[in-house]
């Protein structure tokens, strides 16, 4: 067991935590936070597992860099959509408040 593997396990834990949060939490922004945690977890697994023999591996590192950029792009887009959605509907969740809505038409 090497140090890198420790991080890989931490990554696994983060994945599970993030996944749990992603499914259970209702507030969209919290879902997004959970998603980011999960993303970090996956990146840790990716690098930690690949480097568990102690040799730094530039390929997964480059992959994680790419992954981080993709994640931030997605996060930023999600924030734009969510704020727009909130702006138009006043909702912060996808299902939460639908019962409270006045009957339409």
């Amino acid at each position: 067991m090497s140090v890198s593997l420790l991080y890989a396990f931490a990554g696994v834990a983060l994945c599970a935590m993030g996944g749990l949060g992603f499914t259970v939490l209702e507030h969209l922004l919290r879902k997004l936070l959970a998603f980011n945690l999960m993303g970090s977890g996956v990146f840790l697994v990716l690098v930690g597992l690949a480097q568990h023999r102690g040799v730094p591996d530039p390929v997964p590192q480059a992959m994680v860099l790419t992954g981080i950029v993709v994640t931030i792009a997605a996060t930023a887009l999600a924030v734009v959509l969510m704020r727009r959605y909130y702006h138009l509907s006043g909702q912060t969740g996808l299902v939460v408040c639908e019962e409270r809505k006045e009957p339409m038409e």
């Binding site: 597992l49 591996d57 390929v59 590192q61 931030i72 792009a73 930023a76 887009l77 924030v79």
Partner: protein, 232 residues
């Protein structure tokens, strides 16, 4: 969300954790048949840059990076397509926070310098377009929170040019490299390094621009004009 659902989800994800941990453990025990780090260091000479991560990003696996920048540009486009189209600049936002205002004096120039350094360092040391771009973007966001006017954020030609400059440069290089019959993205050997630096510069600008555009594209004031949007 009922308690039952919560418990079920908790159990499911404990299971996920256990399964994944077991998988990681078994994988760590087995030998790895292919060693990419060795391959990378063997070919580093031909890659044109000394830093292996940059070599992977911009040479060995440059197609990934190209598509990744495309993802960024898409997010930017989707973001500005959602924004109120008149202007991305929101005067109502400017805070008169004295701390930020003070920061502006010395913090921003330093950050700019730092971004430039990161970009330049990328070829032989840790650093590169992503880091530089995100530092630049972060700085700009802070500047904007600090109330610095940014006219170039109008959704006009300038903004779009900024969004796509890095991507376009990358694309042109990719195409040009094939002109003399080579495969795509295969840089001519002599000018590999300048090309990579050129791409990186473009990317830095674009990354910063996209992130900034996405930051300001979100509708700012929830109180205003609720009627706007849906009905067209």
């Amino acid at each position: 969300m009922g308690r039952l659902t919560l418990v079920t989800a908790g159990m499911v994800f404990s299971g996920v954790f256990a399964g994944l941990a077991w998988a990681v453990w078994t994988i760590a025990e087995a030998p790895v048949p292919v060693s990419l780090p060795t391959l990378v260091s063997e070919n580093l000479q031909a890659a044109g840059v000394e830093h292996p991560v940059t070599a992977v990003l911009l040479n060995f696996r440059s197609y990934d990076t190209l598509l990744e920048i495309a993802v960024l540009v898409i997010a930017g486009i989707a973001g500005i397509s959602m924004s109120r189209t008149r202007s991305l600049e929101d005067p109502g936002l400017r805070t008169s926070d004295s701390l930020l205002y003070a920061l502006e004096r010395w913090f921003f120039p330093v950050m700019m310098l730092f971004a430039g350094y990161l970009l330049w360092a990328g070829s032989d040391r840790p650093g590169g377009a992503f880091q530089a771009g995100s530092v630049l973007a972060a700085t700009a966001v802070l500047m904007r929170l600090g109330g610095v006017p940014m006219d170039f954020l109008r959704p006009g030609v300038m903004l779009r040019l900024g969004l796509t400059v890095g991507f376009s440069v990358f694309l042109v290089v990719a195409l040009a490299s094939a002109l003399d019959g080579d495969v795509f993205l295969q840089y001519p050997e002599v000018i590999t390094k300048p090309l990579i630096v050129l791409i990186e510069t473009g990317l830095t600008l674009s990354i910063a621009m996209v992130l900034l555009a996405l930051f300001v594209a979100a509708p700012i004031d929830p109180a205003e004009e609720l009627e706007e949007g849906g009905a067209e």
